[in-house]
Symmetry: C2
Subunit: 430 residues, 2 copies
């Protein structure tokens, strides 16, 4: 169960908000070998490693048109409806993020603007294993499509029989992704970074994964391939006052805890009574969970903290900078402006984290591990570059020229100055 | 002089767009030692290293209020006017980038929105040396202030006499930056990442620098401190047809080349005549430059390429993904939509790169080294996090609940499902 801490002094907070450090540096040498193998042998390396790690014998690395076509018939109507509804909600929310940039005439004749241009080619990684994360595919694929990225590649590890879960294939088809590559782990990341016969090299790689995938993405980000976000274990912080429903709070904490033993779960409350009620609920609900083992371990690394006031709880939360923040307090409207560090915020008693994890429309790829202090979650922005443009007329250059010449001269950059001077001379001569 | 290549086949392009590889890994061990020194000894380490690398004996690491106050009187009226005009232009352009996000009701009772929240604390690094880069301070400081970042710290190396250039101090004061730290190199980056007695730890570090600064920022980005952009040498690509003015083109190429011997300069033209005229102009103008040595070296690493058409030149440029792109062609309006990879674009014969480097209002901190394929330049976005919020009413949860339950069950995450089920039960009972 959670460790309980009552009324810690502010001096103790920095220790309490620390995440367990993860050090994966000993994986780097092995991953560098995988990179080299994929670079040199291309598809052959992917086949060899699918055999080795996934136990799958693959003739074709790509899911065939037949596999993609049949997937729909293998899903229940209920699931297809849920996927379509989610698609629509994510699309509605992310469409709003398109930038409406207008040209700005900063001085007469000097016009500047900015334009969002899709990234040419993006790669999405979706982990395999027990749970087919088609929700993550929607979270990445819908904004990629909205942005208009011309090429979208999906890598996901195959099952032993060489198949990919039909929910993944169906969702890929909905998204218009025809290139579904049966590759997992660091080798999949390498394939998308370097390209192979079957896999085009991409400009940016998105998606979660185990420590091999995480370290591979981090290593590649040093070489010019962009990545979505630095990764860490998923986490939730719940702020609950005596208006909170302890059963709901416990359910939210457990929905985070079931992700894995390293999930981070924090409960802040200004009521010792709420804390003890939540604990009772946690025990009762935990018993019923299929992923009880994971959840119990995650809870044993987690904390429940009693603080004096809502203000203190918000301050603690801002210091922690949670990926997910749930405000189960009566006056949440009044504190919204005080939240400075969080990935995504859930307001009131009827906004569970799982709404945002799946279907409400917000993105679930969010900054963990305190990165919310400086990073945003994935959005439409993640799939575009914002290119600036400027056009200056001869009269505009006469207006701004002196300023540029004076600045350039003061910085000792004469050629910068001369690029203006040589033009101004010509304008005067006309 | 530039290497000339006439009508290269598309198969040769990938080799032509490659930048020289830079490998600074051998610097990492030394920089890790500097990190350790600053971590353990704080201000004392900064004083010791200022003595060692800058030859400066510092009592106080911070510029004093007196130094800041006197700076204005040490600058010419002309320079102060230029700085104020630039400040105003950058502010006008970047203010336009503020997000106007409206709540979206993705389903009845399910409301989602996104809010830009300033990063709590940012650090700006401004290199020292021969040129006081107050222009970079404006490019970083103006959006930091517009975003509303509560804490902005500036680090810049001191001169031997312990002073900082008055143009830097004056600009800092304009920006309301009171904490000007006399520290340079990897030690300055370490101080902003870890904090010392005089320097607060920040959430994100911005600014250019030598290879020590670059590697230090890259190393820290693995540990949770965000950085503005991965760095590489500055570069320009000019596309010129026979409407271009060869003297202007040469002046633009030289204004890039004077940055340093590793600057990248590329000229594309569909007219062999333009190329030879530009070469003559380069020779003539180069002779007059104080930074002739740098510029000549940069030119010797650069290429002038003759291609068949404007379409080919745009395609080559997109493959190169230049930091700065100048379109000295008559029909630039018609090709704007074909530009997919560039940091900042300058249109027509009277929009020199130095306008954007200094004063037009666009940002000059831009993606180099091909990073423009996936990264944007610094903007207001760089100084905020975009936090998503959602509020679901009981009726809203009844609308969206089934979708969440079905998705969660299909992914095998029962606790996620239960967080909805437990609430829906309660709603029905009310």
């Amino acid at each position: 169960m959670m460790r309980k801490i009552e009324y810690p002094g502010i001096a103790e907070w920095p220790e309490l908000v620390k995440r367990p450090t993860q050090n994966f540096e000993d994986l780097e040498a092995g991953i560098a070998q995988t990179f080299q193998l994929v670079r040199v042998q291309g598809d052959a390396a992917l086949r060899e490693l699918a055999q080795k790690y996934d136990g799958a014998q693959l003739e074709n690395l790509l899911a065939s048109p037949e596999e993609l076509a049949v997937a729909e018939s293998l899903l229940s109507e209920e699931l297809k409806q849920a996927i379509l509804q989610t698609y629509s909600n994510i699309q509605l929310f992310h469409a709003q993020q398109a930038e409406q940039s207008k040209p700005v005439e900063t001085m007469p004749g000097v016009t500047c603007w900015r334009k969002s241009v899709p990234i040419d080619s993006v790669g999405l990684y979706i982990p395999g294993g027990t749970a087919p994360l088609f929700s993550t595919l929607l979270m990445l694929g819908v904004p990629a499509r909205l942005a208009g990225c011309p090429e979208v590649v999906l890598c996901t590890p195959p099952a032993k029989d060489g198949s990919v879960h039909p929910a993944i294939l169906y969702t890929a088809t909905l998204l218009g992704i025809a290139k579904v590559v049966k590759a997992g782990g660091a080798q999949a990341i390498a394939a998308m970074a370097f390209g192979t016969e079957s896999v085009p090299a991409v400009n940016k790689i998105f998606g979660p994964g185990n420590q091999y995938v995480t370290v591979a993405k981090q290593m590649l980000s040093k070489t010019g391939v962009a990545i979505d976000l630095p990764a860490g274990p998923s986490e939730v912080l719940v702020i609950a006052d005596d208006s909170a429903n302890p059963a709901f709070v416990a359910a939210d904490l457990l929905s985070q805890a079931e992700h894995g033993a390293d999930s981070q779960v924090v409960l802040l409350t200004n009521s010792a009574e709420v804390l003890s009620q939540v604990e009772k609920e946690l025990q009762a609900q935990l018993e019923l969970l299929p992923r009880k083992g994971f959840a119990a371990k995650a809870l044993s690394n987690s904390i429940g903290v009693v603080l004096l006031s809502v203000e203190e709880m918000i301050a603690f939360s801002n210091l922690y900078a949670p990926e997910h923040l749930i405000l189960s307090i009566s006056n949440f409207e009044e504190v919204l402006d005080k939240i400075t560090n969080a990935g995504s915020v859930f307001l009131g008693n009827y906004s569970p984290e799982s709404a945002g994890d799946y279907a409400s429309g917000t993105n679930h790829t969010l900054p963990t591990n305190g990165y919310a202090r400086a990073y945003s979650g994935v959005s439409l922005d993640s799939f575009v570059k914002k290119i600036t443009f400027q056009h200056i007329t001869p009269a505009g250059l006469q207006n701004i020229g002196k300023t540029i010449e004076v600045m350039a001269a003061a910085e000792g950059l004469e050629a910068h100055k001369n690029a203006v001077t040589i033009r101004l001379k010509e304008v005067k001569n006309v």
